[in-house]
């Protein structure tokens, strides 16, 4: 009954406000009239009676206000009213609203989008895999080194002795020459996997079948079969089902297509998407392409595989860790020659190693820092804008206080304004974040994925991130809008109204100036960061070690597959070199396995002669003892073509062949590492063979300049050997154009076809194009930072402009007096300019310190960053200075043009 009455009243009060108000009005009017009538009856004149009645009533408005307060739902109604009032009040300063909303929205949207993508990229699970959170990775560990591959025999024992894992699969991948039914050859990433690979990952075929896993671990697949990646299937066969049963040749070996993996599936390595899968063994023996590399599945010294497992139901990672560790200890005890000191590490999750996660997060972290800084600047900017606006309405607030507005009412109103601004900014920010997150550019920058992996766009916005950004901005908006209200209370309204605000100006100015200093500083940090990264990127493009990469073209030749015989292969290479050199458009040609800064082959271990371990030492142990270097097989003339300076000794010649003594050329770093302070020429280098016939020591005949790898962070130790003495690999052909026009891919294809039409030619792009493609993510990242930097610059300029302009408005009278007393326009200009620029200078000092810190961080993230980039930061500071000058000059000019007579008369 009472509740019903309450609800009825609430409904009436909220839904029929107009009628309720009207009734109250009527009621009070009736009250006054009745009272006046009584006074009249007591003998007063009608006028006096009415006046007395009004006095007795004591202020109709106050009575109404008190009655409204007593009503149910008053708070709600007041809230709505405050919102309406806030909207009306904001409508009076549209510029403020637009600037504040857009600024905050940019901050919210940018921060949300970048943080969302960053988070997704770091926590990205393996695509198209069942229950990825139940997967674990198992790595080999030896001493301090982790992330080691595991031999097949060890894998088999680990798998068969495990009860904590529902399954454990072995896999790895390599690039192979793939010849399809039409005879066309390309390179594709091929993963060789244990038969249970797809079962462990919980993947079902899109077409056909995947691999059969025998339940007892016995050989499942008996014939060489291949499963196609969904994208490869679409790209090469247009998604035709008739591909099942077709034959592909992988590195020359025939494989039958049996199925297609589901869309999006890239294998077990997120960053290395695979396109084809073959069983690593058929009928119990290593698959033919692996056998061709000398893979022996029973050799425990041959660490070849990465392992991925699925936890059995109810088991946790710790269980698997204990169990596999015990198995590894048992293996070490049983096979001491190969397994001594070897253990395994079980890591939760799959797809990326810890190192890969760290590497992947570099650019995202940089962007996240940049965008967080931007959000801060945006908040600071809105804060200082609010202060400017607050100064303008101080008189209004003082008036309201004087008229008896309660503190609560004032606070409610300014908070309502802040909330309105923040809500509008939030809505716009969500739209911006959506647009950014669904834009392929951002995703590719932050979380680059190869285009054929079939995923990457269409992420949802991270709700938690959005909430945090919204909360931060709302808080800022509310706090800064509270400042004027607080000031209104602290100031006696009478003083405010009497003195026109001059006396109370100084107090707020301090906070505002601090804000401007912070903003200028933060934007200098962002600008410098963008200049520094841009500089680093330019250096990669311009100042990398490849001289004039525009006229260098390289293509890889698929020779091993078509010419398995070494003698014929060498003959082919010689003929290609001769043919290329004869081509008029080509100034120089060479063969090589590697072109700096690309594709360092990785993985040779060398020693000073006499210090190498005895033959038969396991490969892992050897790698631990020796010096890891890049081994590049190449033809004479390579250094000429690449214009890598030969510092000492000689280049290889045609006489450094299989019949002459083995020789090597080292780079300066390797020479210094092996023979510090000695002449490296004539020294001997031991490069023990991991398997097969022992390799004699190599005599060093030359030293060449260092070249960096693609990261530009490091110079690998490099050893160059003549391909004639190591004729096992596919070589690439690299040619230097004679003029400015690069040699085209078709030219290279034609001249190789002239020698042997059976050899496939892949690639054929200029080095510059390859560098550009390789560095695209870095470039996009630096472009983003640049965009943030420019926005920050604009915001800081707006902030400074606001403060100086407001200062001029507030000091109008003072400036006019100065002018009247004889200050020249020039003097006034200098006065105001000096004021603003002092602020900018303090900000620049603060920002300079910040930029130095940022420089250190960038140096650890982008390897190309060098001390020279601090000059770029100097350029950024100059740009900032010019912007600040412009922001200060406009209001200063207005001050200089003041007409003192008019100003002094008007107030």
């Amino acid at each position: 009954m009472r509740a019903a009455a309450l609800l009825r009243s609430l409904w009436r009060n909220l839904a029929h406000r107009g009628r309720v108000e009207q009734e109250l009005d009527d009621e009070l009017r009736a009250y006054v009239a009745l009272l006046a009538a009584e006074h009249e009856r007591a003998g007063m004149t009608p006028d006096a009676a009415r006046r007395a009645a009004l006095v007795d009533t004591g202020g109709v408005t106050q009575v109404k206000e008190a009655t409204r307060d007593a009503r149910v739902g008053n708070a709600l109604a007041t809230g709505a009213r405050e919102l309406r009032y806030a909207l009306r009040s904001l409508r009076r300063s549209p510029v403020f609203v637009v600037v504040a909303v857009v600024t905050l929205a940019l901050g919210i949207g940018g921060a949300t989008a970048v943080f969302t993508v960053v988070q997704r990229s770091l926590l990205r699970p393996l695509p198209a895999v069942a229950e990825p959170d139940r997967l674990v990775s198992v790595e080999g560990v030896q001493g301090t080194r982790g992330d080691l591959d595991v031999s097949y025999a060890d894998y088999r024992d680990l798998r068969d002795r495990s009860t904590t894992l529902a399954g454990l699969a072995a896999y790895n991948g390599t690039s192979m020459a793939v010849e399809d039914t039409t005879g066309a050859t390309t390179r594709a990433w091929v993963s060789y996997v244990s038969d249970d690979f797809f079962t462990v990952l919980g993947v079902r075929p899109a077409v056909g079948r995947l691999f059969h896993a025998a339940p007892d671990g016995a050989p499942g697949e008996r014939d060489p079969v291949v499963v196609l990646g969904h994208d490869f299937w679409q790209r090469r066969y247009g998604g035709a089902r008739s591909v099942i049963g077709a034959t592909l040749r992988l590195d020359g070996h025939a494989f039958t297509v049996v199925g297609v993996a589901p869309r999006g599936f890239v294998g077990a390595m997120t960053l290395h998407p695979m396109e084809l899968w073959i069983p690593l063994a058929s009928d119990g023996r290593a698959s033919p392409p692996l056998a061709a590399y000398g893979v022996d599945l029973e050799d425990r010294a041959m660490g070849l595989f990465r392992l991925i497992g699925r936890l059995a139901p109810g088991r946790r990672v710790e269980d698997a860790r204990r169990e596999l560790d015990a198995t590894a200890r048992w293996l070490a005890a049983t096979h001491p020659t190969t397994n001594r000191g070897r253990t395994v590490r079980v890591l939760a999750g799959a797809g990326m190693t810890a190192e890969e996660r760290a590497a992947v997060s570099r650019v995202p972290r940089l962007l996240a820092a940049a965008v967080a800084l931007l959000l801060l600047i945006a908040c600071g900017n809105v804060a200082s804008l609010s202060l400017v606006r607050a100064a303008a309405r101080r008189r209004e607030l003082a008036t309201r206080v004087a008229l008896g507005a309660s503190r609560a009412a004032l606070v409610r109103q300014v908070v309502a304004e802040g909330v309105v601004v923040a809500m509008a900014a939030g809505a716009l920010g969500i739209a911006i974040a959506r647009a950014l997150v669904s834009s392929a550019t951002l995703v590719q920058t932050v979380a680059p994925l190869p285009p054929h992996s079939g995923q990457g766009t269409g992420l949802g916005i991270d709700a938690a991130v959005l909430a945090a950004a919204l909360a931060a901005t709302t808080l800022t908006a509310v706090l800064v809008s509270l400042l004027p209200a607080v000031q209104a209370f602290r100031t006696a309204p009478g003083a405010m109204l009497r003195e026109g605000g001059g006396a109370v100006r100084r107090r707020s100015a301090g906070g505002q100036r601090a804000l401007v200093v912070a903003q200028v500083g933060a934007s200098l940090v962002l600008l410098s960061a963008s200049a520094i990264t841009f500089g680093a990127f330019q250096r990669v493009l311009d100042a990398h070690d490849a001289v004039d990469p525009r006229t260098l073209t390289d293509a890889s030749l698929e020779v091993v597959a078509s010419l398995p015989d070494t003698a014929r292969r060498v003959a082919f290479y010689r003929a290609v070199l001769a043919r290329a050199t004869a081509e008029p458009a080509i100034a120089g040609a060479a063969l090589t396995t590697t072109i700096p800064p690309f594709q360092w082959s990785g993985g040779a271990t060398v020693f000073r002669r006499g210090e190498e371990p005895p033959p038969g030492t396991p490969a892992e142990r050897m790698r631990e003892l020796g010096l890891r270097v890049e081994a590049v097989e190449l033809s004479p003339g390579f250094f000429d073509v690449m214009r890598i300076p030969l510092l000492r000794g000689r280049d290889f010649t045609a006489r450094d062949d299989e019949r002459s003594a083995p020789v090597a050329i080292v780079n300066r770093r390797l020479a210094a590492a092996l023979w510090p302070g000695q002449d490296p020429i004539g020294q001997y280098l031991a490069w023990p063979a991991a398997a097969g016939a022992p390799r004699p020591p190599l005599r060093v005949v030359g030293v060449v300049a260092d070249t960096r790898d693609l990261s530009l962070t490091s110079v690998p130790l490099a050893m160059y050997v003549p391909f004639l003495q190591h004729p096992g690999s596919n070589l690439g052909l690299v040619v230097r154009a004679r003029g400015n026009a690069p040699v085209s891919a078709s030219t290279l294809r034609r001249l190789v076809a002239d020698v042997d039409p059976g050899v496939a030619v892949l690639g054929g792009r200029t080095l510059l194009d390859r560098l550009r493609a390789e560095l695209a993510p870095q470039r996009t990242a630096s472009a983003w930072v640049g965009v943030f930097g420019v926005i920050a610059l604009l915001l800081a300029a707006i902030g400074l402009y606001g403060v100086v302009a407001q200062g001029v408005v507030q000091r109008t009278r003072e400036l006019a007096v100065r002018a009247a007393l004889g200050a020249t326009p020039r003097g006034l200009l200098r006065l105001v300019l000096g004021d603003g620029l002092r602020l900018a200078a303090v900000g620049a000092v603060v920002g300079g310190l910040g930029a130095l810190a940022a420089f250190r961080v960038l140096r650890s993230l982008f390897t190309g960053v060098a001390a020279a980039d601090l000059r770029a930061a100097g350029v950024a500071a100059t740009v900032l200075g010019l912007a600040m000058l412009a922001a200060t000059y406009l209001p200063a000019r207005r001050a200089a043009r003041l007409d003192p007579a008019r100003v002094l008369r008007s107030d």
Binding site: M1, A30, Y31, L34, V63, D69, A70, R71
Partner: protein, 109 residues
């Protein structure tokens, strides 16, 4: 004229209910009735009267309607509901209990 005394917290509602218990009254009438039955001790100002009237109405103890005053003026009349009468009894007992206790306390030696 009798000395005016500030209203005790919570007594205004009781006084209004009591004033309206004999007949429906408009706002001014209620104020005058209270003044009369308290022998001029309490003079209720419109700033407290109207909020209280509205509050009691929203609690369902009063209903209001527009009517003609004794000298033919339109006025809003308030009338006790059944719940209002029950409330008057409740508050009266409560008050008597409090007043008795206060009296006993102050007269105790």
């Amino acid at each position: 004229m009798a000395r005016e005394t500030p209203l005790l917290q919570g007594t205004l509602d009781l006084l209004i209910l009591k004033a309206l218990s004999l007949q429906p009254l408009h706002g001014l009438g209620a104020a005058q009735r209270i003044e009369q039955i308290t022998r001029g001790t309490f003079r209720v100002k419109p700033g407290s009267l109207f909020p209280a009237l509205h509050r009691l109405e929203e609690k369902g103890w009063l209903v209001s309607s527009w009517g003609e005053s004794e000298n033919n003026r339109r006025a809003k009349y308030y009338e006790l509901t059944r719940a209002g009468r029950r409330q008057l009894e409740v508050e009266r007992e409560e008050w008597n209990r409090v007043a008795g206790a206060m009296h006993a306390a102050l007269e105790a030696t």
